[in-house]
Symmetry: C2
Subunit: 238 residues, 2 copies
């Protein structure tokens, strides 16, 4: 099946969690909004009153007649179809649970530079962001990474990945989180990272997967930038 | 099956979305942390290094050997078992998608009084909260309620509910959101609510469901309070 992914064409953003899954599986997909007239198609789907089950926001995925939104929902749909999650119900619930926690982590990361309102520019809420950043770094990054390190350590199938013996879509998303954190908070992460050796191993193993290595080196992988969920503002990385 | 729900015993919080589903279905369940020694049991499960698949935070549900965390994940697990979602895959994905959007809405509501850090008291971040609240009221409440009003209006099975012909767990959660908004922002909601007649109807229909009406009038329904996700701070309701 050819999948259609709809997401903002200029950032990695939440869409990247889906792109990584599609790319790793070598799936047949179109990144619609990055094609000619694609943005207009995406906005029509978002705004049309004839869509019976409308997405609240990108990303969303079209798979045949289905239009599925919310990143973790898209991934739990794709997971079994792309071989990116074990088949038993317990493992699928578990991978989804981890993905939902990654989604919360990403949202909190965005809040650091947008604590007051998503509708204001960073520069308009910088004093609050300067207060939010040290809390995020000191309390939240450690709490989340500590959780995922424990998840890998306790994985009964070995501690190479989060869910089973093999990589899952949750591992690909964890890789993305670590990439973002390293980009946005290089000073803090240099200090913090050594406490999470299993996550460091996971990150290397995911980056070395042949299709992903090719993707990450290609033009399809958008560069990090200051419109994304995670941004490099040196004043927030103390 | 007897379900065990683990959640903070003094607030409605995210656990309330699960409580409403269990109560509406007349399910056999224990609200563990509200029993004697229950908090200690919950904390042991959260902190024990022997739990192979640990929750990141409450709420979590024990169902036989499974321990499931993340509210929308719990609800998608319970939905088909409690008759609170249609059986076809498309409807289950759709109900889950709506629940994930409700979860985002609830998180943004909490951010209003905690814009800088969850680890600080409201009083320590009040200046930022005073800036965040008008944006939440003016932009975000309207965007979310507009979305859910459209979802009800476009429901091909009639516009009494969000998903199908009958109520689903997403409707119960939407009811809870409307209750919280009415509690936290009574002045704003009085002004805003008339624009969403289908959601007003949904709220009444849910509140009138016999088991829920009984629950809402019982001591099992915890009162709204200022430790909850939504809080009544009059200075934030301008």
């Amino acid at each position: 099946m050819e999948y259609e992914l709809y997401y903002w064409p200029s950032i990695q953003g939440r869409g990247e969690f889906v792109r990584l899954a599609l790319e790793d599986a070598g799936a047949d997909y179109v990144d619609v909004a990055r094609r000619k007239d694609g943005m207009a198609r995406m906005m029509r789907l978002l705004e049309s009153e004839r869509v019976a089950r409308p997405p609240f926001a990108p990303p969303f995925l079209r798979a045949g007649k289905l239009v599925i939104a919310q990143t973790p929902n898209i991934l739990q749909f794709l997971g079994p179809r792309l071989g990116l999650v074990p088949k038993d119900e317990a493992s699928r619930l578990w991978a989804h649970q981890l993905q939902l926690t990654i989604a919360d982590f990403a949202t909190e990361g965005h809040n650091v530079h947008h604590p007051i309102a998503v509708g204001l520019y960073y520069e308009q809420q910088k004093p609050a962001a300067l207060k939010a950043a040290p809390w995020f770094i000191k309390e939240r990054i450690r709490k989340y990474l500590g959780h995922f390190e424990a998840v890998a350590a306790r994985n009964p199938s070995g501690n190479a990945y989060l869910v089973g013996r093999k990589h899952s879509y949750a591992d690909l998303s964890m890789f993305q989180m670590l990439e973002w954190l390293g980009y946005a908070f290089p000073r803090a992460m240099k200090r913090i990272s050594p406490a999470y050796p299993r996550l460091a191993g996971l990150r290397e193993r995911v980056a070395a997967r042949p299709r992903l290595a090719q993707y990450l080196a290609s033009k399809r992988r958008l560069p990090f930038n200051e419109d994304d969920l995670f941004r490099r503002y040196p004043e927030l990385d103390r």
